[in-house]
Symmetry: C2
């Protein structure tokens, strides 16, 4: 999936692929929202689909991507499947990154524009 041209050692390559895989799993607004929703308690697929207004197949596929990346875990409960958050730190990291980027953006505007005391 990712062509190495000999400029990168195997270990670095593996690490970057693994991390990019985590980020790719998060690279969709609905999956971000799903993860935020799972922050407080586990939800089953049908609950999530209803709450977020999704086809059940679509919800299932998004969740399976999150699971493949290791971000959530599942437990069967009778006929339903309970999804729970594994790595809450990604939510903190999202907040941190968003905060940093927005702060930087504001700082840049302050420099570009004349400040009005």
């Amino acid at each position: 999936m990712f062509c190495n041209n000999g400029t990168m050692d195997e270990k670095t390559l593996k690490r970057c692929e693994f991390r990019a895989g985590i980020f790719k799993a998060l690279a969709h607004p609905m999956r971000v929202l799903m993860l935020e929703t799972l922050k407080d308690k586990p939800w089953c697929v049908c609950e999530l689909a209803a709450a977020l207004g999704l086809e059940k197949s679509v919800a299932s596929k998004h969740l399976s991507q999150l699971k493949a990346a290791g971000l959530v875990d599942t437990e069967k409960r009778g006929t339903q499947v309970e999804y729970r958050l594994v790595a809450p730190c990604v939510l903190d990291m999202a907040a941190c990154a968003e905060g940093t980027i927005l702060a930087k953006r504001r700082a840049k505007l302050d420099i570009a524009l004349p400040r009005r005391s």
Copy 2:
């Protein structure tokens, strides 16, 4: 780009789209590596392209994606363009997420397999 069905308020929608945009910018092994490379000092496009074995157009496009997400910033230096890291916390967050996920994965294997003390 992302259809809201009325189940989500506008603010939540915007936040998730913004964060997903950040993650999407990171959802490629080469962009992860670029960001790691920029951790210690700024690099220009040609240096990065050479170091990572990329076409200059490809390197430029990856970097512009990182810039659009606000993860890096640029400064012109004569005929070259210097890229520098804006939000180092995403690297920490990547390490944290990777660590958590791998630890969880190992813990699960320990439960599944008989432990050999």
